[in-house]
């Protein structure tokens, strides 16, 4: 398998060399060709900077970036065969939708008839046939997003970069768009790299993902690996809001004296009588399909998911917790 994008010890520091802000710090990363890759992390974790390093809007202060094996350190954005769907879509307001989509072909000198036909094909691909004559201002947010997508795909890029592509859409539209993006990627076979702060989005769409924290990659793996076997406390907490248990609490749960992670959905509430694992209910959050019950156990807040239909205990009640011992994931981090 070829690597579509490779980061070799890449850093991007801002500010003076004496006290740099390390937006990206020593990142090693390989994105396989044809994969749907997610860069996940909180804001300021370096994920967007990494995307901009691939597109060429940022230059690395250290390390090397390769796209399909070629070093792009000295290649400006317009000569990189990668295209971006911008977070604010960045559609040109003075051009109609067709000219926006055809822009990439226009600057390459493709003749008007060919590029307009290609633009119409692209608009059909994103289900916007017949919208060519409209101005971006006349479109809804979801439609603008599709235009941005069509415009980025018209050049048949080797890698498509998506910067928080669904951030500005409402929940219903976002879910529909997730399915569509996934289907589109499978159909075109282009490598998609998308940046998001939404862990459920990353888990549901990506083939593999990198979790970013403070300019570094905390973990790379498939969604299932990252979810089930978080390597660090940060990953466990950020991806799926797991219960992160300190070494002392882990021991009480029957594990070794190490940090561990226990997913809320693996915990069951049982009557307290005689169990070692019993605590006081502090808060209950109703989430629709289930309720998230927080229990104070040995001074640590532990959350359990209670399926809808089961009677939730009152805050202040004493409850016992039971779980399958294999669900307890002990982390490498000491």
């Amino acid at each position: 398998m070829t690597a579509a994008v490779e980061f070799i010890g890449v850093s991007r520091h801002f500010g003076p060399a004496s006290a740099p802000v390390k937006a990206v710090d020593g990142v090693d990363l390989t994105i396989a060709e044809g994969s749907f890759f997610a860069m996940l992390g909180p804001s300021g974790s370096g994920k967007t900077t990494c995307l901009r390093l691939i597109s060429g809007f940022e230059k690395p202060t250290g390390g090397a970036i390769r796209i399909f094996g070629q070093d792009v350190s000295n290649v400006p954005p317009n000569r990189r065969n990668v295209n971006t769907v911008f977070q604010d879509y960045a559609l040109f307001p003075h051009m109609n939708v067709r000219d926006n989509v055809a822009y990439g072909l226009m600057v390459k000198g493709v003749d008007r008839r060919t590029r307009e036909a290609r633009a119409e094909d692209m608009l059909a691909l994103v289900k916007l046939d017949g919208y060519g004559d409209r101005k971006p201002a006349q479109l809804s947010g979801g439609q603008r997003q599709r235009v941005a997508l069509a415009r980025a795909l018209v050049n048949e890029p080797k890698v498509l970069l998506l910067d928080e592509p669904l951030g500005a859409l409402d929940l219903k539209l976002r879910e529909a768009m997730q399915d569509e993006l996934k289907a589109l990627q499978m159909r075109l076979g282009i490598t998609f790299v998308f940046v998001t702060h939404d862990q459920s989005e990353a888990l549901s769409m990506a083939d593999s993902l990198a979790v970013f924290n403070e300019g570094r990659i905390a973990q790379i793996g498939t969604p299932a690996q990252v979810y089930a076997q978080p390597r660090t406390r940060f990953v466990a907490d950020f991806v799926g809001s797991s219960n992160v248990l300190s070494p002392d609490v882990t021991r009480a749960f029957g594990g070794p004296s190490k940090w561990s992670s226990l997913r809320p959905e693996t915990l069951r509430l049982v009557p307290a009588d005689g169990l070692a694992l019993a605590g006081t209910v502090t808060t209950i959050r109703y989430l629709g399909a289930n309720s998230r019950v927080s229990v104070n156990l040995l001074g640590t807040e532990v959350a359990a998911l209670l399926p809808a239909g089961q009677t939730a205990p009152e805050p202040g009640a004493t409850v016992g917790l039971s779980f399958d011992p294999t669900a307890l994931h002990v982390m490498d981090e000491a």
């Binding site: 954005p77 317009n78 000569r79 911008f86 977070q87 960045a90 990439g104 600057v107 390459k108």
Partner: protein, 313 residues
């Protein structure tokens, strides 16, 4: 629970007015707009109409008295060779000044909009506005000295051995002259200097509204810097450029002081109006002359609109 009432007590006239305006939202608009609209309607547009009316009168050739009868005779006079000359000269100068201003203003406005932050932004505004704080006459006379044969430009050109170039420019017929301060070139330089801020500021405002991601999108899609400039930046800056050009164009067409102080003392529309209504007492022709810039501006804006200059608005 607190014992505060659901409705707070009225605190006097200010609260009462707020309530009235809340119940009648249009009333506030009416109160705010009436005085300026009266001013604009009566004083401003009224006097413009009076001017238009005057231009349809004519002057009796023998007595020099204004005949208050409708005629197009005065407008016909505009087409006399000497008057056409004035109009053409003014038009060319205004166009040249506008283009000159646009070329100089663009890099400054671009820098201010894209790169200047914090203190540099303040420096920019100060630098652009500062010349506006001092008297226009002082600046024009200062330029007369700068451009004079004994002035600093001639002196500096001699000092660095560029007299040849200066003399070559002054030798160009139609542009040059005895010295910069007595040539159309000199008039042009002073016009550009005086009206430059009116071009920079609207241009900067329109460039400020172009998000960085739009330029990145252009580069991302394969455009070179020059292509991005031509197809994205320029069209998006166009409304600001047109706004600025309205200032530089109409200000140049109406000005009657600069051509008197710097240049060949050939007449411009402003100067013609000034002389016709003053010494000559030919108010109708002065009025007809004053209508010319209005018509030119209307034609200019119509063409600009047709060409899509306001598409990005």
């Amino acid at each position: 629970m607190t014992s505060a009432p659901a409705i707070l007590p009225e605190r006097g006239i200010a609260d009462r007015l707020t309530a009235i305006f809340w119940r009648h939202p249009r009333l506030l608009l009416f109160v705010l707009l009436t005085p300026p609209l009266l001013w604009l309607g009566v004083v401003y547009l009224g006097s413009l109409l009076a001017l238009l009316l005057q231009s349809f009168y004519s002057i009796d050739d023998f007595s020099g008295v204004v005949k208050e009868e409708f005629t197009l005779k005065t407008y016909a006079e505009l087409f006399r060779a000497q008057n056409l000359d004035i109009i053409l000269r003014t038009l060319l100068m205004s166009a040249a000044v506008t283009i000159g201003c646009a070329i100089i203003a663009f890099p400054i406005a671009y820098f201010a909009a894209r790169f200047a932050r914090g203190r540099w932004k303040a420096v920019f505004y100060l630098g652009v506005m500062l010349p506006l704080w001092s008297s226009y006459l002082v600046k024009v006379y200062a330029w007369k000295l700068i451009l004079a044969k004994e002035g600093i430009i001639t002196w500096a050109a001699e000092g660095v051995g560029l007299s040849m170039i200066l003399n070559a420019i002054l030798a160009i017929p139609g542009i040059g002259g005895n010295s910069l301060s007595t040539s159309p070139m000199g008039t042009f330089i002073v016009f550009v200097y005086v009206w430059l801020p009116y071009m920079i500021l609207p241009m900067q405002a329109s460039l400020e509204r172009v998000p960085n991601s739009m330029l990145e999108a252009s580069a991302d899609l394969g455009a070179s810097k020059a292509q991005t400039f031509r197809t994205v930046i320029l069209p998006l800056a166009m409304p600001g450029m047109i706004a600025g050009s309205i200032f530089t164009f109409s200000l140049t067409m109406g000005d009657y002081i600069i051509p008197q102080i710097v240049g060949t003392s050939a007449r411009f529309i402003g100067l013609a109006v000034y002389q016709l209504q003053g010494t000559a007492g030919n108010i109708p022709l002065a009025a007809a002359f004053a209508v010319v810039p209005i018509i030119i501006m209307l034609i200019y804006l119509t063409i600009a609109k047709r060409k899509g200059a306001f598409d990005a608005l």
